[in-house]
């Protein structure tokens, strides 16, 4: 998969603490700013209401995929689905994965979001770059958000 956003963040907290912040639905809701109806259960739909200022009209809906204790938490959802008039369920959902790794100072958290429908891969972007169009830079900018993983 080349169509992904990847974020890496060093947290000065033990893996067990980060795991709880990610997978306890009340703790998740605190930092993610969502009021969830119930706990996360693999294979089940998680529902709730966004509490982020300005986005309180937005419903949260995700399907929990994997919960491998202190290693991997993942769900699928429709990112940035802020317009109640749009039926986002018709679009391909993206997969969000939180991977945890113990470090000397705490935890390395790697978050990836993949599956943005048919975003051109790095190889395809090459086709654009061969041209001198003024928007070549724009494509480079896209690529910087779509880190390649062989």
């Amino acid at each position: 998969m080349n169509d992904r956003i990847e974020k890496r963040i060093e947290l000065k907290a033990p893996v067990s603490r980060v795991w709880r912040a990610l997978t306890d639905h009340l703790e998740f809701g605190e930092w993610f700013r969502v009021k969830l109806d119930g706990p996360f259960v693999p294979g089940q739909i998680s529902r709730g209401q966004i509490t982020h200022p300005g986005y309180e009209h937005v419903k949260w809906e995700a399907v929990v995929q994997k919960m491998e204790p202190e290693r991997l938490f993942s769900f699928t959802w429709h990112p940035y689905s802020v317009d109640p008039k749009i039926d986002y369920s018709k679009e391909t959902p993206t997969l969000v994965e939180f991977r945890l790794e113990k470090t000397a100072t705490g935890t390395l958290l790697v978050v990836t979001e993949s599956g943005f429908d048919k975003i051109p891969s790095g190889r395809r972007l090459e086709a654009f770059r061969r041209n001198d169009g003024g928007w070549t830079q724009q494509m480079k900018n896209i690529e910087s958000h779509v880190a390649e993983k062989p």
């Binding site: 956003i5 974020k7 986005y55 990112p79 979001e113 943005f116 048919k118 003024g134």
Partner: protein, 115 residues
């Protein structure tokens, strides 16, 4: 955030799926690559050097046209296809926004677990 900016962002969001889909094809990407220098070209010019038939190229151009990545312009009797960078810039803005939201959420997570 005002209602207006929310709505305009949502409107941009809505248009992304067809743009992603239109770009998800090698032939169409090559057509975009040929057109993005800014010079409008005819179907004959775009078919030159391709293994595909004129009909096949036309079909691909129509897909790009529906996603508004190219526009058909008429010069006299000739139909030319012209590149419009806007939909692709829209994808960039959208990805920027999703990326930005993760940065914000992870910063909150950081203070939550370290606090």
């Amino acid at each position: 955030m005002s209602r207006k900016s929310r709505n305009s962002r949502a409107a941009t969001r809505q248009a992304h799926a067809p743009v992603f889909a239109a770009l998800g094809d090698e032939t169409r990407l090559l057509l975009v690559a040929k057109l993005c220098s800014g010079q409008p070209r005819s179907i004959s010019q775009l078919t030159e050097g391709s293994r595909l038939t004129r009909q096949a190229i036309t079909k691909h151009l129509r897909v790009l046209e529906r996603a508004e990545i190219v526009h058909c312009v008429h010069r006299g009797r000739e139909s030319l296809f012209e590149f419009d960078p806007e939909p692709i810039e829209g994808i960039k803005t959208y990805l920027d926004r999703v990326s930005e939201q993760w940065d914000e959420a992870l910063a909150r997570l950081k203070s939550f677990v370290e606090g």
